[in-house]
Every structure is written in structure tokens, then in C-alpha cells.
Amino acid sequence: MNWLVDFFGDPANWSGPDGIPVRLTEHLQFSTVALLLAMLVALPLGLWIGHTGRGALLVVLSANAARALPTLGLLVLVVLLAGLSTDLPVLIPLVALAVPPILVNTYEGVRGVDPDLRDAAYGMGLRGGQVLGRVLVPVALPLILLGLRLAAIQVVATATVAAFVGLGGLGRYVVDGFATNDYPRTLGGAVLVALLALLVQLVFVLIQRLLVSPGVRRRNAVR
């Protein structure tokens, strides 16, 4: 506990480019961007595959393979190849990390909707897009949100590694703390990341409350 006081109690850690507010903002920034990019890829794809059933096997298999991609390896490779002039390359491994849970849960969510429901929707004269938008997505929403939540937490936690190649964010505390044998710093960074992850959880619970119809019950997530 003393460690925590050492880190959080030091006013130097609350200001300047290496201060907690700045690091936190940075961390949030690229986590958010990575998550958004991943959503941009995985949500439409997951919806489409779940809806049409086309290419399902391929995507589920490759999503599992993507899960196996070592973030660190990808990170150093991408940075070596593309340089550090923009943050974009650094985001690639994070996006790769976030895509599988979003994709798989979206796909499973849509696919898992009771076929009778789909039938009833078509039978009433909804068009393909309407079936997806008005029936499948709202019913699959709890699972889709769960996928997003898992992705967000993993991104927030793993973005730490990006500090190894010089990126900012809370990972700096972890990496720098290690390099300077400054444990309070590492621990402080870890605690901040965990708190951020907790916050993400809370935000998602809130979104869930707001968006998911009380008529829809939750199903099990796929990590």
C-alpha cells in the first residue's frame, strides 16, 4: 500500500507531459481509436456473416487465429516496417486484438437469434435490411455489447505493451517503472489501467441498460 502512496502521492505525477492526466488521456485516446477501428471492421462483418451465414467458417477460424497473434510481435514488426511517424501502426496490433471478440460475439449473437423470429420477420414483409436492423440486432445486442466490452478491456490492458515501442499512455508507467526499478510506478500504472478497465465495464453496463430492451435476455459470451 505504501507503494501506492509513493506513486499517487507524488505531485510530480499529476502534472506535465508524464503526469497522470496526460497519460490517461493518451491511453484513452488510442484505446478508443483502436476500438473504433476494430468496430468498423468487425461489426459490419459479423452482422453480415451472421445474417447471411456466408463465409462463417472461414471467419470464425481466422478470428481464432487472430486471437493467437502475439501483440508484442505484431507491434514490433509493424513499427519496424512503418516507422513511428504516426500512431497508426501501433494501433494495428490493438485492432487485431479487438477484432476477434467483437466479430465472434456479433456473429454468434446474430446467428443465435431464434430462426422462428427471423422467419416471422420475413413473413411479415420486412426486407433483409429491416430484418437485420429491427429484429436481429436488437435481439443480439446483449451479446454484441459483451463482445465490445471484452474487446475494450483487452485493448485497455494490452495497450500497455505499446509503451515498449515508445508510445505514451499508462503503459509508460509500467515500462518506465520496470526500467528504473521503480515499483511504485509500475504498480501505479497497473492500478490505473485496472481502474480504467473497471470504468469501461461500468460504461458498458450503462450502455446495456440504455440500449438493450428489457424483453431480451442475456446469453453467454464467447471470449
Partner: protein, 367 residues
Amino acid sequence: MITFDEVTKRYADGTVAVDRLTLEAPTGEITVFVGPSGCGKTTSLRMINRMIDPSEGRVLLDGVDVTTIDPPTLRRGIGYVIQQAGLFPHRKIVDNVATVPYLLGWDKKKARDRAMELLERVGLDLKLAGRYPFQLSGGQQQRVGVARALAADPPVLLMDEPFSAVDPVVRTSLQEELLRLQAELNKTIVFVTHDIDEAVKLGDRVAVLRVGGHLAQLDDPATLLSRPADDFVREFLGRDRGIRRLSFVSGHEVGLRADLTVPVSTETAGLRDTAEPWLAVLDEDGRPLGWARTDDLPASGTLAGVPLAPYGTFDRGRDSLRAALDATLLSPSGCAIAVDDAGRAEGVVTREALSEALDRVAGGAHA
């Protein structure tokens, strides 16, 4: 009117689900497709609203080939009810019912008003309107399904085993509800079931399909029961065919004897030497009280003090000959008391009268 014209459906795997089906489902009537599992009932039904397109032949809706109509447009004009109701779990009951009106661009208020009206019509408590489907029982969900299919007042209604998931008691009440509704609405209904009793009860016409998608017989229920086209149909109709057939013969077919009823105020003295073993005793309003056995009548006094045996009645206006038969079998006298709507006795059905009526029916059956 819905017309199947030499319709064949062959699935990708080679299964022939429907084989050169030709039939008509007349406007304003309930046509039932019945047959064993896998005989192509669902497939046939779904070719009407283009959930499935035929491999050969044509399905016509009032003379128009349905394949010329854009599926969503076609479907919005056709109500569709399925077994598990297929309610949208994320929408409140009222919004479920208003789905098609919303799709058709009705304004929200009008669509909801219409939904409420329909909920009432299918016999649901309006309190349920704000609930979600999971908060309803199976039977209630099924009623919502029917209401939803009716929301935009489509002329045609397709129902695929809509009541098969609920328990027998609820099922009976749903069936009666449907008949009541149809009496008001006069939709063109195609109804799929694998339960022959349901088919015979609901159908104006019943199409019996056999596995492989062949039409085995298409007839009104009474004809179906009395003259099954072949052994398959006979077998499928099952036992009690003769008795069940009586359901389609009106109670009016049977002759009554008015002389077997006596008011309760009658003196017993004059009755003791009647040849009849039993007499139906009526109260002042003409309602039956029970049977008195003439041999056991006391020597004096009115019938008021006499012990009476319970009676069997049937409503000649509403009930069928089957109910009359059942009533005679339940009655200790072997005779049933025919009553009118108000419950007043119109006369007594003796077994001889029943026999005569049955003879007429049986004779007619194979004419």
C-alpha cells in the same frame, strides 16, 4: 382465392416436398392442410407468401402469379402465424402487434390504437399491452401472434401449426377464438396442422397430404369423414370416424316427442299407467328438472316430491347429432332432452328418433 396450379417443390438436396399440387383455397374460407410430419404442409404454405418459391407450377393469389410480386410487398398483405408465435422479444406486446402497420408507414398513434383494438378482439387483457413477450404464457403469446397477423387487416391469413405448442385446454379455446374471429372477419385462411381433429374442427375444406407431397384428398370435413378417398386417408382419420361424422349433422335432423315431457305440477295419479318407463319433468318455465320413472311414482300428489334422476340435454339449435347421441348415452332413460337457447325443453329425443336420424345420415353417406 389462392390457387395452386401443378406446383412442385424440389429442394436442393433432391427431396420432393410437394408434388404437382393443384388446389384452390376459396376466398373467405378456412382451408386446412393436414398430413403426417414431412408431407410438405409447411412448404406448400410458404410458397403462398414466397418464403419459398416453387420449382415448377404457379401459385396464384386472386389470379395473379405471386412470383410477379415483390416478396415484402406481398407479405405485408398476408398475415402469417407460426407455432412459437415468433414474437419479437425486444418489443412490447402492443408494438409487436403494430409491426406491419409501422412498416406500412401508419402513424404511431393510429398503429397503436389498431393494435389495442386487435388485442381486445383476440381476447387479451389490455393490461398485457405494455408487457414483453417473455412475460406472457404460451397461449397468450399465440393470441398476440394472431393479433399481429391481423394488424393490417390482410385479406389472407397463413397459419402454420399455430396452436400445437400449447396445452389441450388452451388449444381448444384458441380454436374456438379463431372460429369466432373468422365468423366476423371472413378472411381467406390457410391453416396447417398435423392433428386431424383440429383440421376437421376448423376447416371449411380439408386437404389431406401424404408424404412425398401428394394431395390425397380435398373435401369438406363431413365428406372426408364419411368417404375417405383411400386407405391412407382412412387410416389417418383414425377411429371414431363414424361418431365424429355426427358432429357435422345438425341437431335439427332429429325428431322430438313432446308428449314425454310433463310439468312438475302434474298430479302423479294420471301418469302411473303410461306405457313410457320414463318422463322428463319440467319446472314452471319449462326447464328440465330430471327424469321420473313411471313405475316408481307415488299413488298421489304432484311430481314435486318425486325423486328425479339426472338428465342429459342437448341444444338442438347449436349442438350436433353427436351431442344428442352423447346425451342419450348419459341419460338414465336412454332419451335426451332437447332444449332451446334459453334452456327450455323443446321435447325428448328417443333412441328410436335418433336411430331414424342416423339412418338418414348413414344412408346419405354412401348415396
